[in-house]
């Protein structure tokens, strides 16, 4: 088995799986149960001046019957006394000295920052995470994402904290910005020892169509919340990758955003995360989900011949390029396996209506115009005839076929196909060497 232990800018934990700051890390009792379940670290529910929360607080988007594709919340930072939180941090660290406990912090004035940093260190926290990301409730008070959206303010507050702190300082970024590099670089310049991202995306999760009140409803009204869960994972990964490949970002990154299982986590690690943080998936399935994460990551590392999770970190980053660097001479086309095709024709209609009209059935001539005037009137002779086989009930299966000359290799058909492995995208052999748009520009061709 591979070594899963990590050291993230001095914060050590037995594995890269941390609980993100949120309801699952609201109390010492919870964090201890999480550590017992296998979590390597926990970022405490954000500490600050205790607030008053509203009811209700959460809303979700379900997708095709699957629950919680995305979750949003309008809950604020801890509503428990700071004293209780620090006592519990102390108790957790005493019982789990090898696990990572990171105190998430959010206060306003320099003096408040000085005091809360000191109290966190006294309680035994392994690190601090500055919450510059919360996009609801706190930002209106000049905290959270209102800091994360102002690189100069962010850098200044970071430098205050660094002035007082002797333990590592992570800056948690908000995705509610035009370019994540601005706050990311500002945090590094402010002295941050590490970054964590993303916090939630500003959102309205839905509208109750019976009474036309946005969700989640607080009486007959609502407000914007923070969106998280599986739906935000691609957004998070882009921001992670953008920071990871930027040479100005010299500090480790803790990846957050829609991570639900070991596959998600492994993708984040490959895109440059040293640790990963999970919240929504635990809110949905409980702390127990970490068991599969540990197993799955371990087996993956074994399969890849990696002896430590640290060897995995960033392996995908060099392959994350600007569009202008991609090879314009690389081509793939779709192939439909007639044997496994079930005849649903989802590829056909997707290509017909939503792509480039390159998949056909034998239901009649294709009327699509491909820029080649003969196409509609005179179906091309090199188009393969459809192959048929019969379904379980003996009915013939209508297998669509690809006009390979016309296929532009967009992937859409293979994405909609419900049969695993039925539609594959296959590389078209070419003698042309790699040529990118940037190459063309350099050669004066574009």
């Amino acid at each position: 088995m591979a070594d899963l232990s990590i050291d993230m800018c001095g914060i050590k934990s037995p594995n890269p799986f941390w609980l993100a700051s949120g309801p699952p890390t609201n109390s010492g009792e919870q964090v201890m149960r999480a550590f017992d379940a296998g979590w390597g670290g926990a970022v405490w529910k954000t500490l600050g001046d205790p607030i008053v929360n509203v009811s209700s607080r959460l809303g979700a988007v379900d997708y095709y019957g699957a629950k919680i594709m995305g979750l949003n919340n309008i809950e604020l930072i801890t509503d428990r006394p700071l004293e209780a939180n620090f006592k519990e941090i102390y108790a957790v660290k005493k019982r789990y000295p090898g696990h990572a406990v990171v105190a998430s912090l959010m206060v306003e004035s320099k003096e408040e920052w000085r005091e809360i940093v000191k109290r966190s260190e006294d309680a035994g926290a392994d690190g601090l995470e500055l919450n510059f990301g919360c996009p609801h409730g706190m930002c209106e008070r000049g905290m959270g994402s209102s800091v994360g959206q102002e690189p100069k303010v962010l850098a200044e507050i970071t430098s205050w904290v660094k002035e007082y702190a002797s333990i590592p300082v992570l800056v948690k970024l908000t995705p509610n910005v035009g370019d994540i590099l601005d706050p990311g670089v500002a945090a590094v310049e402010g002295g941050a020892d590490g970054l964590s991202l993303i916090n939630t995306v500003k959102s309205i999760i839905g509208v109750n169509l019976d009474n036309l009140v946005p969700l989640p409803a607080v009486g007959g009204e609502s407000t914007q919340g923070g969106y998280c869960g599986p739906a935000v994972k691609p957004i998070a990964m882009h921001m992670l990758g953008a920071l990871a490949r930027d040479t100005r970002v010299t500090v480790p990154i803790s990846g957050i955003g829609g991570i639900s299982d070991w596959r998600d986590a492994t993708e984040f690690l490959a895109l440059g995360a040293t640790s990963v943080q999970v919240c929504t998936a635990v809110m949905h399935g409980g702390y127990r989900i970490v068991e599969d994460m540990l197993d799955g990551l371990n087996f993956y590392l074994d399969d890849k011949g990696l002896s430590s999770v640290n060897e995995l970190v960033g392996l995908a980053v060099p392959k994350f390029k600007e569009w202008g660097e991609l090879d314009l001479n690389y081509n793939v086309i779709a192939r439909i396996d007639a044997e496994t095709c079930i005849g649903c024709q989802l590829c056909y209609v997707a290509c017909l209506d939503g792509a480039h009209q390159c998949i056909h059935t034998n239901q009649g001539p294709c009327q699509a115009y491909h820029g080649k005037p003969d196409h509609g009137a005179n179906p091309r002779t090199e188009v393969m005839p459809p192959e048929h086989h019969t379904a379980g009930n003996g009915a013939p299966v209508q297998v669509p076929f690809v006009d390979e000359d016309e296929c532009i290799g967009c992937n859409l058909c293979s994405l909609v196909c419900p049969v695993p492995g039925c539609i594959t995208m296959e590389q078209v052999p070419t003698t042309a060497g790699k040529e990118s748009w940037n190459d063309r520009v350099a050669r004066g061709l574009a």
Partner: protein, 452 residues
């Protein structure tokens, strides 16, 4: 007599069919949503092609998934006015469900019948509770159509006509409208209450029902042809055919449809406790139905005796399996030769083997004959041509008989098929009539899923 005066809506609870529970219980909202979400939403879907009425099945299922119950029900009814009952009585395993692409992927196919039942039931409940109608009939256009028989074919035809402003008048010789949906459908699929609710809904679009009127006796057929702009013949089939063997006449021998009707409709009917065993003669779905019903009602030993093998039988494999679950057995290659009696009482069914020629007695208390029903249309309606099997000959597309003003559909043209076949016959005849009058029909003649 009008429908209200005939009293057909008052049902006695004391009917044997009430002892049968629903074989496929109605979906709850969440069950329907979960199942609807499973649908792949195939394009040009095989299930549509497998449906005789061509309902745009992926479309109505998608609408269930989004909570668009009204739209879902409209999609169903536009193609099949009997969408509520066919959802429950259709042999979906050999039609839409059997064609579902999930079969080919070794997944459980989408339960299309149950989803259709959900959408139609919920929409009609909402019509009642919300006060709107799914369909608004067009103003009257002065055309009148007589329909003979108040079974599924005529009811479907009448409903489409009523929506187009035509006045349909349905003549039914029995007291009850509904045809086989009332009298014949297996009670674990549909009870009278459900069938009658559907009839009421169909009639509510503006059809006139006259029960207890027999064409050919009370009114001459020719008179109808003369009085109406068109006539639709949905007369179904006649009484059970008999075997013509010794011992057949007398107590303890039943025609299958007669016995099913007693079980389903007759107040106070019950099986005599002395009936411990029964033999059913036949290999069609009616034979399988009555055998299963008797077994479910507690007849300890029910045997189907069939003159050929299960490979050749017209009854559906899934219905045979359904009957077998209740202990029904089927014996192949037997020809009935005599109902053996002891005094008045049935003692056994005597058969000979088509293989060995040997004669054997199957002891039983009842014999049920399920070898088909008489065709009577050629006899009853002058000028109507029938084929060698007594089925009314019609144009494949328009359902016109030799007389262009007389249309026909349902069992009287196909010799006994499904409710869904009757429903599409009624629809096609209605649309053909409208076309013949140059009436702009629609949107009900837009068959979803087909390119116009």
């Amino acid at each position: 007599m009008t429908a209200e005066k005939s009293g057909w809506k008052q049902l006695s609870a004391d009917r044997m069919e009430t002892q049968f529970a629903d074989a496929k219980p109605a979906y709850s909202d969440s069950e329907a949503a979960i199942e609807a979400h499973r649908c792949l939403f195939c394009y040009d879907a095989p299930c549509i092609k497998a449906c005789p009425t061509g309902i745009d099945i992926p479309a109505f299922i998608k609408k269930i998934a989004t909570g668009n119950i009204r739209g879902s029900a409209r999609t169903i009814f536009e193609a099949n006015m009997l969408g509520a009952s066919t959802a429950r009585v259709c042999p979906v395993d050999v039609l839409c469900v059997g064609a579902c692409v999930y079969n080919d992927l070794n997944h459980q196919p989408i339960q299309i019948g149950r989803l259709q039942r959900y959408a139609t039931r919920r929409a009609l409940e909402m019509e009642n509770s919300h006060g709107w109608r799914l369909f608004t009939p067009k103003p009257g256009n002065g055309k009148k159509v007589a329909l003979i028989g108040a079974g599924p074919a005529s009811l479907a035809c009448a409903a489409y006509l009523a929506l187009e402003g035509v006045t349909p008048v349905i003549y039914e010789k029995d007291d009850l409208p509904g045809g086989l949906n009332i009298t014949g459908v297996a009670p674990y699929k549909l009870h009278m209450e459900g069938a009658i609710a559907e009839v009421e809904w169909l009639l509510s679009h503006g059809a006139d029902l006259r029960t207890g009127v027999e064409i050919g006796k009370d009114i001459r057929f020719e008179q109808l042809v003369e009085d109406y702009d068109a006539v639709f013949l949905g007369a179904g089939l006649g009484s059970d055919q008999l075997l013509g063997i010794p011992g057949e006449d007398g107590p303890g021998v039943w025609g299958a449809t007669t016995l099913i009707r007693e079980i389903k409709n007759r107040a106070g009917f019950s099986l005599p406790s002395a009936v411990k065993s029964a033999v059913v003669i036949g290999g069609g779905n009616t034979a399988l139905d009555i055998a299963r019903e008797l077994a479910m009602l507690g007849v300890a030993e029910v045997k189907i005796l069939y003159r050929r093998t299960t490979r050749e039988m017209p009854g559906y494999c899934h219905e045979l399996e359904g009957a077998a679950r209740y202990g029904v057995t089927l014996v192949e290659n037997l020809t009935p030769v005599e109902v053996v009696r002891e005094g008045d009482r049935v003692k056994a069914m005597r058969v000979t083997s088509t293989k060995s020629g040997e004669t054997e007695d199957y002891p039983c208390d009842w014999v049920v004959i399920a070898i088909g029903q008489e065709t009577h249309a050629g006899r009853l309606y002058s000028g109507i041509k029938v084929d060698g099997k007594g089925r009314v000959i019609v144009d494949e597309k328009t359902r016109q008989t030799g007389n262009p003003n007389v249309y026909a559909g349902g069992d009287c043209i196909n010799g006994g098929k499904e409710v869904v076949n009757a429903a599409v016959d009624g629809r096609e005849a209605a649309f053909a009539m409208l076309r013949s009058w140059g009436t702009a029909a629609g949107p009900y003649n837009r068959i979803p899923g087909q390119r116009q």
